[in-house]
Symmetry: C2
Subunit: 338 residues, 2 copies
């Protein structure tokens, strides 16, 4: 893989400005986002435009050993369908749901049944193309930096508020993977000392327990049980969406829940800012569909807890939604060393 | 400055292995560490060995405007004394006590009376040499990575436990300065909700309020006032040193204070690990003179609060002491792009 990449860089160095640009447009890359139930794939041109995207199911048989062969076949079939030569493909970027180091080794992915192995090397040998691999949340952050809400910034932190809380740290345009792939695992920042229920990770009081979609439902249940204050939430199925819909309708109990959510997340983001001081926080995931009203609840607490030079950090919403993963994965190939 | 650096890199590319090495040894660099009362300076050879070091007082007259001219004169005098031509000097690295961005702009340094300006550009124009500038704690971290306790690691976090708590984050061998120079400001991570005394920064509950030398004295005073439990600390002047000396002598109250210190710092380091996941924490500053016994108190809490993939993070002591600043500053010049 390293050899192929070096070769490509050498090509790039040998050709001049205009020729290089044409050369680049005529090339292709694939972006792959491996999830627990489906694998999303995208075919991109050299500028990062999506030409085609599709999904295949995630095979969990035999400890997930069929996943990489399935991806290789899906790519081969697409190349035939589009009549693209393999020599026109710069490489394949992949996002995986687990900690990955900068060399492409994954340190376990519970959702897939995977242990520790080098994903980049194995997929590259199956498909005979250069492969780069990143953690899915980091890769989504990279996508948002390249083509989404964080476009134009190269120091950013993306926080994905979904079933859990994921994160991706970008410093100087590069993903911070961390030594053992734990870079950007901001959902597991310890944020609350008194918590009695365990987080999915086994610790107590992780940010994910309060700021994820399921965390917001927990906060809502706790608040509703506290007293009998009237709220439209009492007659609805609790979800992050129903909470923020109630906030928008002026429901005071829902506002208290949103305030609690904002306190935890604002405090967590302030802590992150004291470590890497990004220019912007990009907020994505299902919870972010509530829109900019989220910032009204996060920002006051961020300002309360942030160190002075970090207080100007901007907040924006992610814009790529489900395409962030494939887009960022393609970006690992196309936006590399540019 | 950029031009000079590029020129040097071109030189480097044009000469072959052995010649390059000799060329490099015959070059020099200066490392400068600007403190509130003294400025430390060092002359280094191309391998990063200290050839000479000395100090000059920090002039605070006229809003610190004399500081950079004083440094320029000190370097010119040293060049004459050592009969070194300016063409033999690769550059001057500088650590400054305030937030600095990657271009060398400082965003205020209260201790020096400085506002916002580009330190690198001004010193470079005074001395006619390339200048690189970093925050003093970041630069010390860089020094420890290059020649100190963190040698051999290129993903590390240094935490300096002195009067305050400073920090430096190194990712992939590079300092994380942050967008507004706030990268590595780990002393101002919010770590305690109930704090009623303000931190020097104006916030409440910063890590610095518990894990610095002064923070340890605060914890000790609080513990001693709680009851009348016997302790040798009651007859001694309280300091971080007297607390850890008492710990080593088996004083139970001192052990409780050390445990409290370890809980705050271990929790803070676990949070940092979930953001950048370093391979090693390098602990420096006056408090670190207590030695590896510190780790006995920090590690259990680190393990309690850290996300699973971060639990293997190593702990080492800084080894460069007061030379970390000048050494790291010289490293900004000599260890750049190697």
């Amino acid at each position: 893989m390293q050899g192929c990449r070096t070769l490509w860089r050498a090509d790039e160095m040998m050709i001049s400005g205009v020729v290089k640009e044409i050369e680049f447009v005529n090339k292709y890359a694939f972006g792959v986002d491996i999830g627990g139930t489906t694998i999303k794939l995208g075919l991109f041109d050299g500028e990062g435009n999506i030409l085609d995207k599709w999904e295949i199911p995630t095979s969990k048989s035999v400890d997930g050993t069929q996943i990489l062969p399935d991806i290789a076949v899906a790519i081969e079939v697409k190349l035939q369908e589009k009549e693209i030569e393999k020599s026109e493909v710069i490489g394949v970027g992949v996002g995986v749901p687990g900690p990955v180091d900068s060399k492409g080794t994954i340190y376990g992915a519970d959702n897939l049944g995977w242990g520790v192995f080098n994903v980049a090397e194995i997929l590259s040998s199956l498909i005979s193309l250069p492969v780069k691999v990143g953690n899915d949340a980091n890769v989504a952050a990279f996508g948002e930096m390249w083509k989404g809400g964080g476009e134009g910034y190269n120091n950013l932190v993306m926080v994905t508020l979904g079933t859990g809380v994921g994160g991706g740290i970008i410093v100087g345009g590069n993903i911070v993977s961390g030594y053992a792939g734990g870079g950007g695992e901001v959902g597991h920042i310890h944020i609350e000392d008194g918590e009695e229920e365990p987080c999915g990770c086994g610790n107590y009081g992780c940010l994910e327990q309060y700021a994820s979609a399921t965390g917001i439902v927990r906060l809502a249940k706790r608040r509703l049980m506290k007293d009998d204050a009237p709220s439209r939430l009492r007659s609805r199925k609790l979800s992050a969406k129903s909470v923020f819909d109630a906030v928008k309708a002026g429901d005071e109990v829902a506002m208290e829940i949103a305030d609690e959510f904002g306190r935890y997340l604002g405090k967590g983001l302030a802590v992150i800012a004291s470590v890497v001081n990004p220019e912007v926080f990009v907020i994505g995931g299902g919870v972010s569909k509530a829109g900019e009203i989220l910032f009204d609840y996060i920002r006051p607490y961020f300002l309360k807890y942030a160190y002075r030079v970090c207080k100007d950090t901007k907040f924006v919403l992610a814009t790529l939604a489900n395409d962030a993963g494939i887009c960022g994965a393609a970006g690992l190939i196309l936006n590399n060393d540019k």
